[in-house]
């Protein structure tokens, strides 16, 4: 598991505390009943807080599974400035 995956999993655990790590890493809006629009917005805010990034509201709708969020964060990291901030 990458560092991004670990940190993302921590965020997911905070939003979905009763779901196992195994299910969380495979979770999506379609497969996890608790994952509603409020959870999406909360998760986006947590990710912004944990990763010190800003997420464009237009991008929030695409953050609909663990895998898609992990990919998004990976791309953010690749485009990050030398001081670590993502733009």
């Amino acid at each position: 598991m990458t560092a991004i995956d670990s940190k993302l999993l921590e965020c997911m655990r905070t939003v979905f505390p009763t779901v196992s790590d195994e299910k969380l890493t495979e979770a999506s809006v379609e497969t996890l009943e608790q994952w509603d629009s409020l959870a999406t917005v909360t998760l986006a805010a947590l990710i912004e807080e944990s990763f010190a990034i800003e997420i464009d509201p237009e991008e929030v709708a695409n953050l609909n599974s663990f895998r898609s969020i992990a990919s998004f964060l990976g791309r953010k990291e690749q485009h990050a400035q030398p001081d670590g901030e993502c733009r």
């Binding site: 939003v15 409020l38 917005v41 909360t42 947590l46 944990s50 509201p57 929030v60």
Partner: protein, 579 residues
């Protein structure tokens, strides 16, 4: 607080605890404000499970109206400009033609008037906290944005007038005072995407302020302060009376500010004492010679100067005041003294004083919080004086004859008020804060107090007392109800300042006489601290200390000790109850 931490606090809370339920009425999506508010409340009330429910998006007025009917015990109303007129926000684009500005002003004023009415109506049933706009006024007019436009000035005036009326309401309304660094409060991206206008930082900031108002907390009763290097800069014994300072010239202004705060607290009825390791004579001279002291000798009771360990001085002060250590704050510049007193009295809040301006400003805010009260009542103002008097009045220690003679000569007056006044804050305070003479230790919220008095068979008996030594104000509160030929007493408290005056006997006599019943049923329960109440019950003719405790009319009047009070009874006009 970080959102992560807020969520962890909520997920970790014990759902089996009694719920502390808050209704959040706002026009925006409640979102992270709801989360933060619940988390802060959970932190402040660990004995409860915090629950914050919210209403319908976009319906601030409707949500405010829902507070009264909700299951919540308190309501929080959060208002932003866009809730009053969408043209003051960014989610709707209707144009900002200069010709529209008067209409925007008129519509906003109308909305505020309606909202004010709804808040007042809700506060008649529940405690309501109001948070008026914290976001910047939108830049509608043509003016330089660094200046205030006529529209902004007009609407802020309307808002200020509304705030002025709300804080003076007799019902349970608190208007939030969100002072602090508001930083980047507005999150336009979040407002457009989710209808939530606040940055996470601002939502956390507001929620913390709200929780400080919403959560019940125990107000402290007494403050014990050191003198040297705390009330003044310098050591009295070393520097001499003329060489201790508290002014700008001597870079000691922060001590003067602290003195000012002590003086204000004393005048508001907070018990203030000094505990100093000094020669008593020198301390007396200090207060006699230095008339420029901001805090006066009469503000302190007692002014305890001694070379004994500080904890022993504090112990004597607590005995003089007759209050528990958990109701007291101790302040001293010396870390050793703070530690020593803290070890002896772990339930006492002990603060190490330092003279930095930042510390004193924070202490000011902290002490205002710890000793907060919405209004300063006559009982508060005379509290210190009455304790002083109580210590001087030589109550006979032995023999009924001595006591009868003493009480006869007191020229005591009792004012008995029978009512269903649910706004009697002093009576509720007596029931909630008194320990030694408290019938069963049951504490009531504002709502429970109010709901008790809705029943037309219920009543509140509030008792005021004065004698030749001066007034004590309202010193007893009793909640009772008629059940057939009985009066059932569900709550009863008597201030410890009024002990040894047979006031408790006078209350029972009044119940028998005014209510014309044959029996009084006291729903008492033993607590850790109501030993005085238990002694009183043991002195009554009855069937032993059982719940309920029955007082039969005939037996009571047969055994009641002589009472010398001049009793004035007032029965409230709203009282159709057949008392």
């Amino acid at each position: 607080m970080k959102l992560t931490d807020a969520l962890k606090i909520l997920h970790g809370s014990n759902k089996k605890l009694p719920v502390f339920d808050v209704f959040l009425a706002c026009g925006s999506t409640p979102l992270h404000l709801q989360t933060f508010l619940a988390a802060f409340i959970q932190q402040r009330c660990p004995q409860n499970c915090a629950k914050v429910s919210a209403g319908i998006y976009g319906d601030l007025a409707g949500n405010t109206a829902r507070i009264a009917e909700s299951s919540a015990s308190v309501g929080v109303v959060v208002v932003e400009w866009q809730d009053l007129d969408p043209r003051l926000g960014i989610r709707r684009v209707a144009g900002w033609d200069w010709k529209d500005l008067p209409e925007i002003a008129a519509d906003t004023r109308k909305k505020l008037a309606v909202l004010e009415g709804l808040i007042v109506a809700a506060s008649e049933r529940k405690k309501v906290t109001v948070c008026l706009p914290t976001l910047s006024f939108p830049l509608l007019s043509s003016q330089n944005p660094a200046t205030v436009s006529p529209l902004q000035a007009e609407l802020e005036l309307t808002l200020a007038e509304m705030k002025n009326r709300l804080v003076r309401q007799k019902t349970s309304i608190a208007v939030l005072n969100p002072v602090g660094d508001l930083g980047e409060a507005f999150d336009p991206a979040s407002e457009l995407a989710f209808g939530f206008p606040y940055s996470l930082e601002h939502a956390s900031f507001l929620a913390e302020k709200m929780s400080a108002v919403v959560c019940p907390f125990s107000v402290k009763k007494g403050l014990i302060t050191d003198l040297d290097m705390t009330v003044w800069k310098g050591i009295l014994g070393d520097d001499g009376i003329e060489n201790v300072h508290w002014d700008l010239e001597h870079h000691a202004q922060s001590y003067g500010l602290y003195q000012q705060l002590l003086h204000a607290l004393a005048k508001e009825g907070v018990l203030v004492a000094a505990a100093t390791k000094n020669s008593p004579e020198m301390v007396r001279q200090m207060f006699s010679v230095r008339s420029d002291l901001v805090v006066k000798e009469e503000d302190f009771f007692p002014l305890a100067a001694s070379w004994r360990p500080k904890s022993e001085i504090v112990k004597d002060i607590l005995a003089t005041w007759n209050i528990g250590a958990d109701s007291v704050v101790f302040i001293d510049d010396n870390a050793f003294e703070v530690e020593e007193v803290g070890r002896k009295f772990p339930e006492m809040e002990c603060i190490q004083f330092n003279s930095s301006a930042r510390f004193v400003m924070d202490l000011w805010s902290d002490l205002r919080m710890k000793f907060a009260r919405k209004t300063v009542r006559e009982e508060d103002r005379i509290r210190s004086a009455s304790i002083r008097t109580m210590n001087r009045a030589d109550v006979p220690a032995s023999g009924n004859e001595d006591m009868d003679e003493f009480l006869r000569n007191l020229r005591a007056t009792l004012a008995l008020h029978f009512s269903r006044d649910a706004l009697d804050e002093r009576s509720l305070e007596l029931i909630d804060k008194t320990n030694q003479f408290n019938l069963n230790g049951t504490r009531l919220t504002d709502t429970e107090f109010r709901e008790y008095l809705v029943d037309e068979n219920s009543f509140l008996l509030a008792v005021g007392y004065s004698d030749k030594f001066g007034p004590l104000g309202k010193i007893s509160a009793l909640l009772g109800r008629r059940e057939n030929d009985e009066i059932v007493v569900d709550s009863w408290a008597l201030s410890c300042r009024a002990f040894s005056r047979r006031i408790e006997f006078a209350c029972l006599r009044a119940l028998f006489n005014v209510c014309s019943v044959g029996r009084i049923r006291l729903r008492w329960r033993k607590t850790d601290r109501n030993s005085y109440l238990q002694e009183f019950l043991s002195s009554l003719p009855g069937t032993g200390l059982r719940d309920p405790f029955l007082v039969e009319r005939g037996l009571f009047f047969r055994d009641c000790p002589a009472l010398f009070h001049d009793v004035r009874t007032h029965i409230g006009e709203e009282f159709e109850m057949k008392l």
